[in-house]
Amino acid sequence: MNTSENNKKNLLMYYIRRYAIFIFLFPALILLIFLYLLPLLLLLIRSFYTYVPGTLHPKPIFTLENYLITFRPVYLNAIGLTLRISVITTIFTVILSYPLSFYLVRSKSSFIKKFVMGFLISSFFMQLLVRVYAFLHVYGDSGVINQMLGLFGLPTQSWIGGEWPVIVSMIHQGIPIAVLVQMGSIKNINPEIEDAAKILGASSAQTFFKIILPLSLPGFIASALLSFTGAASAFITPMILGGGRLWMMANYIYFRFTDTLNYPLAAAMSAVLLLLSLFVCYGINGVISRWVKIK
């Protein structure tokens, strides 16, 4: 009696163990395949549909019209602007984050360090809009920069609408997450390796470029990817700090969809932006790896 019950229980456990992996993966697969991969595919398909003005239901007639529109000069400019702003943002974000991450990993625990960390983590909970609004106070016509210029008797100017307020604000948005990602890989570097290099006669610069930098590569690449895609998909920052004059790809996608209900065109632009950002991500990976290897 007891043994047969035990056998049954064992059999059940056997099956659970055997198929555990399917149970574990089931929710993630459903979510990612049916509600993520499939929608992306459908988006791609819709980008070849024919737009009917005034309705959300485009006709399923194959057309390349949406892509032809996407490659008109206006939108090509937007693509160029998006790439330029995102790449500049990425470069500055990654480089500025690195010393800060290094400091946070290696320095002794202190009140200042805790304050810096607390501030960085709290930035995740701070709304993007709040950070963009903060930069209105920096770059606005009566903002801090113009006040400083006025103080030194220099001519003030209208910064809003230019590219730099957007870039600077995006760097400001990108640094906290970049620091967090870089810290992970810096933490994995054993400080004894540096000591060994120094004992063997390497200068600080040599130790840094030949040992520390290559070892912190994964964090470097991950932070670059995060800040690039963050910048490439931003539409709030250019909308507000661009004063209505800076239109990046994400702005057009959002606008075409919400204001003119032109989903096929928004889809075609999404496809182009997706392709570009995958391409750049692939490039970032390659460039950073090779650059560090040569050093």
Binding site: F24, L25, L42, F125, F135, P176, G184, S270
Partner: protein, 276 residues
């Protein structure tokens, strides 16, 4: 030789000073704009004015708290972020267990798929989801749609954080428990979960904060009646330019500070950050 050593030392120390200056400049760059914005929450002027506030008023807090779209958005965002934390953790923990502890066909592909919502711009995810959920599936409940969308964009953070704590996990403890007669379920609840708890807390904070701050996906999935806090802020800022936004910021920073104290007291910043 001695000469060379001295110049090396000078270069080293000059380099260190420059690096230190860069660190503090970066930190001030992060901090100061926020300080400017926060101080303006108490400024009595009716327009976005010169930086130092000229007086003190709580008027803007009143405007903020009396704005129904802010308060409605705040409620929705809290609800969505909390539910997303639960769904994302459930899916993420199960998936991390499979990814770290089992070998199977297509593991690399799955890994890439799970991390891809970080690489794919949020606007595209939003545009794809609105077509799928409203168009093909006929799901018109934007609250549910927002939860689905946010679960997808938070999954990569959760899986990465929890995988990291599972990789550094000493499995002899689990084996010991099982030798002593505990079954898989008991072992998981009594041994595995408590050990990876810091990872779970960190993942929960990531999931919550990503959902809480998302505009790119939410902008597509909201409907006129259901909005989230960031989207409400965006709508407000498009048409009004006054310091109510600063008051909203100050309010958020206050709430965030409480969060920070909880994080520091429960897992500590250093552990939290080291887990990524």
């Amino acid at each position: 030789m001695i000469h060379l050593k001295i110049s090396k030392k000078i270069i080293d120390s000059v380099g260190k000073i420059i690096v230190n200056m860069l660190i503090w400049a970066t930190f001030l760059f992060l901090l100061l704009p926020i300080v400017f914005a926060l101080s303006m929450a108490f400024d009595p002027r009716e327009y976005v004015a010169y930086f130092p506030p000229i007086g003190f008023t709580l008027h803007w807090f009143e405007v903020f708290l009396n704005n129904s779209s802010f308060i409605g958005g705040l409620k929705n965002s809290l609800l969505i972020a909390s539910l997303v934390t639960v769904t994302s953790l459930t899916v993420g923990i199960l998936c991390s267990l499979a990814l770290v502890r089992y070998d199977f066909k297509g593991k690399e592909f799955l890994n890439t798929l799970i991390l891809s919502p970080i690489i794919v711009p949020g606007v595209i995810t939003g545009a794809a989801l609105v077509n799928m959920l409203y168009g093909y599936l006929g799901l018109y409940n934007s609250l549910i749609n927002l939860i689905i969308g946010h679960t997808i964009i938070t999954i990569p953070y959760v899986v990465r954080t929890i995988s990291a704590s599972l990789i550094g996990f000493n499995r002899t403890l689990e084996e010991a428990a099982q030798v002593l007669g505990a079954n898989e379920m008991t072992t998981f609840i009594k041994i595995t979960l408590p050990i990876i708890k810091p990872g779970i807390v960190a993942a929960a904070i990531f999931a919550f904060s990503v959902s809480w701050g998302d505009v790119n996906v939410a902008a597509f999935l909201i409907d006129p009646r259901t909005t989230t806090f960031p989207v409400a802020l965006m709508g407000f800022m498009r048409y009004n330019f006054n310091n109510a936004i600063a008051a909203a910021s100050a309010f958020l920073v206050g709430v965030t500070s409480v969060f920070m104290i909880i994080i520091e007291k429960t897992i500590g910043f250093e552990k939290f950050i080291g887990l990524w």
